[in-house]
């Protein structure tokens, strides 16, 4: 029953699986992002309050959701690496960090662009915006800590500890609009009850979200291959894989 779990701890298996999955993830991401873009930009009706400015939701919400998802993946991989001493966990964590940081920046920038016409300002020290900014600092901290040690194993452990502890910020970001007074609107999709959006606007959003997730999976697999190669380059199987 646990065979699949043990296989995930094997660098050669992970390297091969990642290489095989990349084209599938990229192809599926291209399809879903293409549909989401066409439907979201050209077919979905304008919002009755925000007009066409609401279309920024098709980039902002998927990137914000992905910033939280990637951090959760990174923290889970770090916890697995710390608890079971599985080296591939550190590789997944290291591969996920720059992707998560870039999508957090995307969420902050697109939110800022959306905030200007709706709130009259690019930035406010609002609980949602501030906690998302802290998430970016956590990503940067994890990446910096990993490279701050001369001994890579110590860097991995320190970064994994910070990533695991920092996961406490994920629910804070999500529930910040519930716990505190906020300029930011409440949850639209991930909440108890049905999504508060018309189907014609919701489908392209779900498609864009799925596209972003698939794109993340593809890029994670590519980076993971690089991380495994870096960490296992003295191994015989790496030399054989490079030569073949």
């Amino acid at each position: 029953m646990w065979t699949w779990f043990y296989k995930l701890a094997s660098p050669p298996y992970v390297y091969g699986a990642a290489a095989a999955l990349v084209p599938w993830f990229l192809g599926a991401a291209a399809l879903t992002l293409g549909y989401g873009l066409i439907d979201g930009l050209a077919i979905a009706p304008p919002d009755y309050q925000q007009g066409d400015a609401f279309r920024m939701i098709y980039v902002h919400v998927p990137s914000a959701m992905l910033s939280l998802t990637v951090y959760t993946v990174m923290a889970a991989a770090s916890a697995v690496a710390l608890i079971w001493r599985i080296k591939v966990g550190h590789a997944v964590s290291a591969a996920a960090a720059p992707i998560g940081a870039s999508f957090t920046i995307l969420a902050l920038v697109t939110g800022s662009l959306w905030g200007r016409p709706m709130w009259g300002t690019y930035w406010a020290w609002d609980p949602r915006l501030t906690s998302e900014l802290i998430l970016l600092f956590l990503y940067v901290g994890v990446m910096s800590l990993r490279s701050a040690f001369e001994d890579p194993a110590r860097g991995d452990r320190a970064a994994a500890l910070l990533a695991t502890v920092g996961v406490v910020n994920v629910p804070i970001v999500h529930f910040s609009v519930v716990w505190w007074n906020s300029l930011h609107q409440g949850a639209t999709i991930v909440k108890l009850g049905a999504p508060s959006m018309a189907g014609s606007m919701l489908w392209p959003l779900l498609s864009m979200w799925l596209g972003f997730m698939l794109f993340f999976a593809a890029v994670l697999c590519i980076r993971l291959q690089g991380e495994v190669l870096n960490r296992e380059r003295q191994s015989k199987w790496v030399r054989e894989a490079i030569e073949s």
Partner: protein, 75 residues
């Protein structure tokens, strides 16, 4: 496609930069990840030697250890 599409109801200066930046981030992610994998592959290739190993080889014999301090390197 009419002008209404490109003007985005007067919000074009916000909507299009938003999508353009998203495209930039997606493209950067793919490019950087492929570059990272290629660099790792080059380092793992037979015959590849790391810079730090070369410096260690050139260090004077008085420097103890396999990885000398920078002050021990004479070049």
């Amino acid at each position: 496609v009419n002008n209404g599409f490109w003007s985005m109801g007067g919000y074009a200066s916000y909507v299009w930069p938003c999508f353009a930046f998203a495209c930039l981030v997606l493209a950067w992610n793919l490019w950087a990840a492929r570059r990272f994998r290629a660099a790792a592959g080059a380092r793992a290739a037979p015959g590849a030697t790391e810079a730090i190993d070369l410096r260690a080889l050139e260090a004077p014999p008085s420097c103890p250890g396999a990885r000398p301090k920078p002050s021990c390197i004479t070049h």
